[in-house]
């Protein structure tokens, strides 16, 4: 399963001139391979710190995940937590995606749903889809 951080796709929080923005990044199903930036000379690692989803989004995702997996409230779940290691099977994962869609009013395509491996991936995807709306 691909687990790229969304730092490779959400350009909106970096301040650089509009004409550099690649318009097709707004599509939710863009493969998260970083290919979109071959025309930009910016190194990928610089995005990592600046582009993470808002903490409130991560918190909401954590809440939904804990509820779906019936985890105790004090269980430590963070952005780095992988769904698989928390015990989410495929049915849990689709329910989590449904929960996120309901909570945030977004629509997640199957391809994007498959690329979500961690809580952070989910939060980043949500923000990307919210921007699209």
């Amino acid at each position: 399963m691909a687990s790229f951080t969304a730092s490779s796709v959400s350009f909106s929080c970096i301040s650089f001139s509009k004409q550099n923005q690649v318009s097709n990044l707004r599509k939710a199903s863009l493969p998260l391979s970083g290919k979109g930036f071959s025309s930009h000379k910016l190194p990928a690692f610089r995005f990592r710190v600046a582009c993470a989803a808002k903490p409130e989004t991560v918190t909401k995702v954590v809440e939904i995940v804990k509820k779906q997996l019936a985890l105790p409230a004090d269980r430590d779940v963070t952005g780095d937590s992988k769904f698989a290691t928390l015990g989410a099977d495929s049915l849990d994962t689709v329910e989590i995606v449904m929960g996120l869609e309901e909570e945030f009013g977004i629509s997640v395509e199957e391809e994007s749903a498959q690329s979500i491996a961690t809580v952070q991936d989910a939060a980043d995807l949500i923000e990307k889809l919210l921007e699209k709306n």
Binding site: M1, R75, K82, S90, V94, E95, M98, Q114
Partner: protein, 301 residues
């Protein structure tokens, strides 16, 4: 039902596996283990020892003892099951290597010299916290999925179905008035759909659930005789390549098995059922052939 497997076989020594013949051409073997029945700490340590370092790492990363145990048993079951078939010579479960196909489906990476053909063994595993299963075939792609019959879901059956299932399947579920029956039918349908996607080996997005329908074909006297899949994207010849079985295991789980049909049976007028043999096992300790017993109830197939 004729049983051509020993009822119960105890391992000769604490680290041996009872060898077994590869499944025949139209045969499927299913092995399962119940984590609740494996409590011996030194046995679990023995299992940990046959895993690869990466697998051990993945097991230890699981959050919670129950999750760690079922992750451990999943890898143990795969390794010990495949090792039983002793292709060419004795295979040490620890020495097996695995790789993923282009879509991420795990397969054995046989370590034979270039002039030996890799054996046509296929496997697929599925696990819940309460049951871990491994299906094996020869010459045939296989996908399996197991779920607890009474597994809870957070959304209603119909909202879930409307989001993920096909129109026909939604209608099928909506027509069931008893909510308990509806929930059970939902779980059955889920396992069948998962098993199909896993057999295809293309991952969830390779065959999105909404793009295919699984339904029960009725025979001339309106009895459900066969499980079939219709795909919106694939032509009929391709979807008729797959056959399904649905079982109730240990009174607690549904297990769906999807395997490739072979040319001979696909052309035949009647659906040739695959022979399925099921073992309950505690690797290195005991194997119990449970086909024909109460532990295995065939629902379809």
């Amino acid at each position: 039902m004729k049983l051509d497997c020993y009822q119960r076989t105890f391992a000769h020594s604490s680290s041996s596996l009872t060898p077994i013949q590869l499944p025949a051409h139209l045969e499927t073997h299913l092995w399962y283990v119940k984590p609740s029945e494996v409590k011996n700490e030194s046995l679990l340590k023995q299992y940990l020892d046959i895993l690869s370092p990466r697998e051990r790492e993945n097991v230890m990363q699981m959050r919670g003892e129950e999750l760690r145990k079922s992750a451990l048993l999943a890898r143990t079951l795969v390794r010990t099951t495949i090792a039983r078939y002793q292709i060419n010579s004795q295979i040490n479960p620890r020495s097996l290597k695995f790789r993923k196909n282009i879509h991420g489906k795990p397969e054995v990476d046989w370590q034979f010299s270039n002039d030996s053909l890799p054996p046509p063994l296929h496997f697929n595993i599925s696990h819940t916290s309460s049951l871990v299963a491994c299906g094996v075939t020869v010459d045939s792609q296989i996908g399996i999925d197991v779920e607890e019959k009474h597994r809870s879901i957070k959304h209603t059956v119909l909202s879930f179905a409307r989001r993920y299932f096909s129109k026909h399947e939604i209608q099928f579920l909506a027509s069931i008035t008893d909510p308990q029956v509806q929930k059970l039918e939902f779980i059955k349908l889920w396992t069948l759909k998962e098993a199909y996607v896993k057999a295809l080996g293309k991952g969830f997005s390779g065959a999105p659930f909404k793009t295919f329908t699984i339904r029960f074909k009725e025979d001339s006297i309106h009895q459900a005789s066969e499980i079939v899949v219709d795909s919106f994207d694939e032509p009929t010849e391709l979807t008729s390549n797959w056959q399904f079985s649905l079982l109730e295991l240990a009174n607690s789980h549904y297990a769906a098995i999807c395997t490739e049909k072979h040319a001979a049976s696909a052309e035949g007028k009647r659906n040739v059922p695959t022979k399925l043999t099921v073992w309950k096992t505690i690797p290195f300790v005991v194997d119990e052939c449970v086909s024909g017993t109460d532990a295995v109830k065939t629902i379809y197939g």
